[in-house]
């Protein structure tokens, strides 16, 4: 049964989509963690749901709608450029309103039960060839963007005052990064669902922080944990037909616990 499934086309699609998304999330994670944007990621994902439901309602795909919804929110968060408590409050307010709208869209599109569930908890086996193409294009563009802006973005994330003085356009990056993040979130929704987005965007980077203090090692560990959890989760879901998202989140959380234990032992 397991080996038969490994040969199936939809499994290949799922593995490729999962791997691509995992690499992007693994690279975004350390930026998200150092910039304290966990809640903003969650908010972006929930409004991705609103976008997806809206997409279904007007007859475009859920994935396209999610991308549009997330990007709109990413731009909004970027332009508002709020810090700390202001941002938390604004994020909470916007996402509650948006999510309410998403519920209505789902109801009106008459796919409340089936699609709604998939969007919330992820349904990676439902990724079509067409969606995989878009996902590859979006993630490819994100990787390219990260390669170009990665170093100044890192400078602006860990040491904003000096970065600004050294000529890093910290304000522009503060707008650009949430937009890149929103695109990554929209693609990740297809793998983990809206509610489990942080399992790939936050958890691997959080674990990596306990494994290393050299930035390159932290990024590498974050990608490795993200990739391992996603591929491992998909394979486990083939062997035991429980939800993929459950396995992915269990694996990344296990990595986090082990990393923290290791950090305690090392000291």
């Amino acid at each position: 049964m397991f080996t038969e499934l490994l040969g199936a086309h939809f499994v290949h699609t799922a593995l490729i989509a999962g791997a691509i998304v995992a690499v992007v999330c693994g690279l975004m994670g350390p930026f998200v963690v150092t910039r304290g944007m966990a809640f903003a990621v969650h908010g972006t994902a929930e409004l991705g749901l609103t976008g997806a439901a809206g997409g279904l309602l007007i007859g475009v795909s859920a994935a396209t709608g999610a991308l549009a919804g997330s990007l709109a929110v990413g731009v909004l968060f970027g332009v508002l450029g709020l810090r700390g408590r202001d941002r938390d409050t604004a994020t909470g307010t916007v996402l509650a309103a948006g999510l309410g709208l998403g519920v209505l869209f789902l109801y009106l599109s008459r796919k409340y039960a089936t699609t709604g569930f998939g969007l919330l908890f992820g349904d990676i086996t439902a990724v079509s060839d067409h969606q995989l193409h878009i996902l590859t294009l979006v993630c490819g563009a994100l990787l390219l963007a990260l390669i170009v802006i990665g170093r100044p973005l890192w400078f602006a994330s860990v040491d904003p005052e000096t970065a600004e003085a050294r000529g890093v356009p910290t304000r522009t990056l503060g707008i650009v990064f949430p937009v890149l993040l929103a695109a990554a979130v929209a693609e990740t929704i297809q793998v983990t669902g809206v509610l489990l987005i942080l399992t790939l965007v936050i958890t691997p980077a959080a674990a990596a922080q306990y494994l290393a203090s050299r930035p390159s090692a932290v990024f590498a560990s974050s990608v490795a944990i993200s990739l391992g959890s996603t591929i491992g989760g998909i394979l486990l879901a083939l062997a035991q037909s429980w939800p993929t998202s459950f396995f992915i989140s269990s694996l990344s959380f296990t990595a986090y616990i082990l990393a923290r234990l290791l950090a305690v032992v090392r000291r």
Binding site: I147, I149, E161, A165, A212
Partner: protein, 277 residues
Amino acid sequence: MTDPIVALSHVAAGYGQRALWNDLDLVVERGEFLVVLGANGTGKTTLLRMLLGLQQPTAGEVHVLGRAPRRGDPHIGYLPQQHGFDEQLPLRGVDLIRLGLDGHRWGVPLRSNNTRARVAAALADVGANSYANQAIGRLSGGEQQRLRLAQALVADPVLLLADEPLLSLDPAAQQAVAALLDQRRTSKGTAVVLVTHEINPLLPYADRVLYLANGQWAIGPTREVLTSETLTRLYGAPVDVLDIRGRLIIVGGDEASTGMPGDHPHHVHDDSGRHVH
């Protein structure tokens, strides 16, 4: 005849309707150590931001190395007001210093021997070799400040701007950081413009003091500016400067502090340049 490092003529600063100071004339020469004193909200950080090209004067002309300040000028090193790094921050001392060298560049970081050598030299200059490879958030305030200083100096600036570099350091660390700053300007001729509340650790090194108060200013050798007469004139209220065994104690009006009178906590000037009332 070479240009001075910093030249301000008739410069005014402010936000909207509120003027911080007016008609400021200032020249800083190579190797000079200028200390900027004044209460919160008098525009000390604003002066630094102006020299960094991050804020425009409302009047007058600002020149750094003979030209208008521009953002990211590699000739300027900047030591921002200290806030401790987060304990879990994935960053070591060497990484912080390296960002000071090439952190502003786009694209893939390339490691060259030259980069490594410059980072190593900057580390050695501040004596931070033994902890440079540890997570920076777990180091003491004094150790973090040495690393920040190495970061500010790694690109070999001719002007170093420091915003409260001695804040929240213990006396020994204050002495050490102040001595390192002095050593740099005497050995390499780097001009230092340093904003502080606390003049005493810097008394042995400061060439001149710029004192900002009530929208006015006074500049001159330390012992000429920090006198009862000058400060009384600036504040328009009685201020006494006492010299006790080489330490200056300034007592102004009903408030007393070492270094400066008249702190106005209800009028705080934060480093983003906004005002919090």
